[in-house]
């Protein structure tokens, strides 16, 4: 897609992360519902970063009240760039299904988030000073998730 431009904001495609998640666990406790879904593996590709997701280095520790109403995404895990740089990601956002106004019989997935990174000094330190927004999709054959990140300029 053409990079989106509205006055004062520019979104630049940064990278995509494809993740194979392990089986989901969730429970409801006295305070709230908690989900746990660790990444079993993943790859990162795009113009600003390529590398891999470190398997089982964290999880999506989602928060919810009633899982059927959707979840608040709260993901913590480690990534590693092709040059070996370690990158910590904390992804916050929402995943829910909404009525589709254009097609009343169907629902639409809303899966959007804002990642915050911690990165060592070096070629990727700009990631720790940059706001990103992301959009997520579920892909089939094989079953996996894809996250597409845009840098906010």
């Amino acid at each position: 897609m053409a990079d989106l431009q509205i006055p004062g904001i520019e979104l630049e495609y940064a990278f995509s992360v494809e993740i194979f998640f392990a089986e989901r666990t969730d429970f409801v406790g006295p305070r709230r519902g908690k989900g746990y879904v660790p990444p079993a593996s993943g790859t990162i590709s795009g113009p600003l970063l390529s590398g891999k997701v470190v398997p089982y280095s964290g999880a999506d520790y989602a928060i919810f009240k009633d899982v059927s109403e959707g979840i608040k995404v709260n993901t913590h895990y480690m990534m590693q760039a092709d040059d070996g740089t370690w990158i910590y990601i904390n992804n916050r956002g929402f995943l829910h299904r909404d009525p589709d106004p254009e097609n009343p019989a169907q629902t639409k997935l809303y899966f959007r988030f804002t990642p915050f990174f911690e990165v060592p000094f070096g070629p990727y330190e700009w990631m720790a000073r940059t706001l990103f927004i992301g959009t997520g999709e579920r892909l089939a054959n094989p079953d996996r998730s894809r996250f597409t990140y845009y840098r906010v300029k």
């Binding site: 897609m1 053409a2 990079d3 989106l4 509205i6 004062g8 904001i9 979104l11 630049e12 495609y13 995509s16 113009p47 959707g70 916050r92 956002g93 929402f94 829910h96 809303y110 959007r112 988030f113 804002t114 915050f116 000073r129 940059t130 706001l131 927004i133 959009t135 999709e137 597409t148 845009y150 906010v152």
Partner: protein
């Protein structure tokens, strides 16, 4: 750059927020520098939300260049809203003027404003003086 296979992301202007600064406290903490700027008050305007910042309900608890606001808002229909906003203040910019790029998260009761608590927003803002305040424009990430 053309990336035809990428999912589309679009932004829709939602509302703007003026936060009046109630001063500034700063100190060098154990691991990072810490700044607190209480919110003395403020106003919300725009197509999707109107209201006010509840005076003395919080402020910006910033560390290094990471800005983190916690505060209460009140919509013009009286609904209470909580805002937690996280982002960056960019001080070394090409134009010389510092600016904010932020991601706010809201909590809201069931009712007409609950979509705020289920939606990702992008915010862009800048500081103004005389008197000191910050204006942030929020865009719904569709």
């Amino acid at each position: 750059m053309a990336q035809p296979d990428l999912p589309q992301v679009s932004l829709d202007y939602a509302f703007s927020l003026r936060i009046d600064s109630g001063g500034r406290i700063e100190f060098e903490g154990q691991m990072r520098s810490r700044v607190f700027e209480p919110a003395a008050g403020g106003e919300i305007w725009g197509p999707k939300l109107q209201g006010r910042v509840v005076p003395q309900s919080g402020g910006d608890f910033a560390t290094n260049d990471l800005t983190e606001h916690h505060m209460m808002l009140q919509a013009s229909d009286g609904t209470w809203l909580y805002m937690n906003l996280l982002g960056y203040e960019h001080n070394e910019t090409d134009s010389g003027a510092p600016y904010f790029r932020v991601a706010p998260y809201f909590d809201a009761p069931r009712g007409p404003h609950e979509w705020l608590a289920k939606t990702v927003f992008l915010g862009t803002g800048e500081r103004h003086s005389n008197p000191a305040h910050t204006i942030i424009h929020f865009y719904e990430v569709l």
